[in-house]
Symmetry: D2
Subunit: 320 residues, 4 copies
């Protein structure tokens, strides 16, 4: 192995940059050449390859987003596309690839692996919906963004009967909303995985005020049956509470990566290069307990991660 | 004068707490007693008065919201309510009042003044829509909240054709959206004061991409003809740009006050007590240039502040 | 068991407050009474006990420091003191105690346990030097404070030949400096556990500049043989590099707890009450992998945690 | 005039980047070419000129430091150097120059002006020691950095008798320490401009504790007669207070520019280009009241700005 490639794909996640930095510098420490693949798998399709040197990843450790940019690429989802991809990589002198991204990205990596191309995946996705790692890169930063927003809402507690609704990302996975609820001190959380009747929310707010709380915070995943806007209307119609809606949207994908995400990114990047060097292909690096270890991409792409329902109860108990 | 009261009223603004602190401690330095009026004018109606000592305002300088809480009070908007208010204040031993809040609050202060009660106003409102001061307490913190959110969106620039819409507060006044646009590097801003056709927005985004920009940020005041949600639908229907919406909502009212807001709050609080001591009643303290000076409440409550249209042009020019 | 007590002791750590909140609310959910012990073991000595209700821990989840305050208490380090402590606790109607703090605090908890008093410890210390948990409450927040400081230094890179020295806490344990170095992108770290000759530092800076780096960041634990001030003098005398020193000091103990620390605090607080309810006394809750589990205080207080030397090498490799 | 140049010089100040962006884009809007001069006046000496296009200043609005880098340049402080500089600029096709920096930089600009070269200065320096503007670019960001640090110290208030000393930048000018003291709620400030006997500090801390304060914060400018380290030793020797020292150092020069600094930078950059276009050379743009107006560089470089001593008293009064 002479040269490895590195790409980022799918939705941005804070920490992709320090991970790219770790991949590049670890490879250099092992006297490998490194090529950046720009725009994810689209770059694979179009031979968008570029030599990377140590200085090219200087000053990026603290930057959100990804200097390699991401894209979505329909072409790559066909077998023809994937075969062309492997050809391009080999033609470009790239012997093996580190692929950084979310669930869809791991499927792309798996496709390359099936075609016999050496690849290792690194999980990076704020949704934390990837099987095979307890935390993906970017989750911690997104949670901190959510919690800072909730803290600001809490500041504006008043004597009004008012409920604040915060909509987080999570179309299919309620992880961010759930954990945001625990650490933000929310009254209740609404998730895609659990159906909650809006009357239960109204009741919950009413109880909180009865217990003397000066604010009620509801965290809603965008994929919940009632999203924040719908829930807001329901509450105002059916109760005498005023509601105020905050939709965080893509600000959850940005921001300077936190200490946790930088460390995770560094460790995973180092380990991914190490796996390629040892011929441990077709794997994803994952955080298991305190350790970074390898999981077969086959397993990652065939299993579904579930949220821990104990936390749903914890939100309610700690808000009392 | 033996005892002054202090109240906060209307929407929360970051910096109310350091202002209350400055009022209390300045009064004490002049050997006055201080009473807190809780829940704004509602507290005046219900004699919700409480002795304040120097230590009661310890550790609040950095806290968002207001320890005195605010409320809306319909009763106080009648002449009977106001007369009862003056009676209550006098009965409670409060000889003069510092009233901290927004435009509506200044009208309340003016009502007390008309009835011969000594009052001085302090402008605090994130909307910056109060006549008679170049900056109200809270505006700078809100602008920093907006700009931090926009910075995070900018991180997630990608190769997609995508526009980010950020909705700020401002039902009648576009100040936050306008200045947020200048300092956030937005392509275009939509304000209540200026009608902008959504086609102009689409064109503006398209031009930006044609010039090689990797992101387009649109800042929309909630009171603009097309709010963020409406504009998002329009753009997706009429163009091939994807949109992503962030609605900041009440997080703009919270957060630890910035250096600027704390200094403004301290200076205004000191000056308000000074004005009462000198018998300069019926005035609002305002920032004029570098100086804190007094404006008659009559003027404050009868004039309308307007936004500076030069900045609308500046947004467009600097985004090129 | 009718009533549990909760205290914080030793150096402040961000996250103590959300942990106190979790203890109080979990206890209430199990229909227990809760008493706060103010000022740590000093409060035990002086029967500084106070009833806690659910609302008393409202609005503290985001606050740094500890509402229960901490203190150091020599009296409690004698057997007589400890026996008096147990008497006081029983006399005060406190049947069991949750003790939140660092290494010294766990020794205090162990002393109570030896006297047959039911106690469970919760590790909270920014130094991360407590045996029996992979992370203590407060460490993540402190690391984020360090990394934000380093990011600001990196901004001011210039064409001067200049090295920035950042001194972190850590008299005996270099954890913060080491991890701060990894995630801050430092050239080199100086730790109490490893002796580094200052010439090695000079060489390292010189090499970095030779490789084209525009800044050199050195992270120094306060307990390293050469602290930041000493190292600065050495470098300026022996090389032509200018140095600039930042001593972070106690700002590392403050700040709103991060998402990670709040979650850890909530989980540990819940688990500590659960342990007392199940009669699992004389234990400390610890993070092991993803799980919160119990470790005997005997083990905690008799073993020494060591830093992972692999990270020392990782700093050097990733800075290249 | 066909082409203008822009350079940054002296110590970094947050906001230099958005100012460069404003200069470049305003110039382009007026169909001028723009050349960057790298490394300040050193770049003038060595013809380090580079064409700038609109996209070259994309994505820098939020970044600390300066993409043009700064340097110190002894050569330029001689008349020969200055004459060579003018020659180089003309030879490089640069017809006029926007010079962004501190007091020393304005002297450099004045030198060019004396030689008949068209130049306009923009004040950027965290020290706020430049005559002719109420605020320089960077001051607001530095103040927010200081106040965030002080807030973290305040979190760790304890029952110990302890004083926190915070050393800010300011060798000759105490502006940052003074204003940091007002907005940080310090007990007392020590400035280069006012000699304060350390016994006065001890007394002040003692009084604070006697009044029931749980913490004492002392802000010290690096140029004060007793700096933080010296003061710390004195206090510990002469009283029974423990002290804890934080030296902020260069982190005050970094960080993403605040809303205020970005707006000031944008307005000043726009105005500087406008001045050059109108032939208003030999001036510095300054903030006067709410307006950006022009001051002769001759005046700027011959007068000394002084701090407002009223704030020294305000610190003491508001800390009571």
């Amino acid at each position: 192995m002479n040269c490895i490639g590195v790409l980022t794909s799918g939705g941005d996640a804070p920490g992709m940059n320090p991970c790219v930095r770790a991949v590049v510098r670890t490879a250099m420490a092992h006297h490998l050449h490194v090529k950046a693949v720009r725009h994810g798998f689209e770059g694979v399709m179009h031979c968008n390859f570029e030599d990377m040197h140590a200085r090219d990843v200087g000053g990026i450790i603290q930057r959100g987003g990804t200097i390699l940019q991401t894209a979505r690429c329909k072409e790559f989802y066909t077998v023809e596309g994937q075969e062309l991809g492997v050809k391009n990589l080999r033609y470009g002198g790239i012997d093996a690839l580190v692929v950084i991204g979310g669930d869809g990205t791991m499927h792309g990596a798996m496709a390359l692996h099936r075609l016999g191309y050496p690849v290792v995946g690194v999980p990076a996705s704020i949704d934390n919906d990837i099987w095979g790692t307890s935390m993906a890169i970017g989750v911690d930063t997104a949670l901190n963004t959510i919690v800072e927003a909730i803290d600001k809402l809490r500041d504006t507690a008043s004597s009004h009967k008012r409920a604040f609704l915060v909509e987080t990302m999570g179309r299919h996975c309620g992880y961010l909303a759930l954990m945001g609820g625990v650490i933000g001190g929310a009254e209740i959380v609404l998730l895609p995985e659990v159906e909650t009747h809006p009357d239960e929310v109204v009741e919950c707010i009413a109880e909180g005020y009865a217990r003397g709380k000066t604010h009620a915070i509801i965290v809603v995943a965008e994929g919940a049956k009632y999203n924040a806007t719908a829930l807001s209307k329901y509450i105002e119609e059916k109760s005498n509470f005023q509601t105020r809606v905050t939709i965080l949207g893509h600000i959850q994908r940005g921001g300077s990566p936190t200490a946790f995400d930088r460390l995770l990114a560094a460790r995973m990047g180092v380990r991914a290069v190490d796996a390629l060097l040892k011929g441990n292909n077709g794997k994803m690096v994952g955080l298991h307990g305190r350790d970074i270890s390898l999981v077969p991409l086959e397993e990652v792409t065939s299993k579904q991660r579930e949220i821990n329902m104990e936390y749903v109860e914890m939100v309610r108990m700690l808000a009392k």
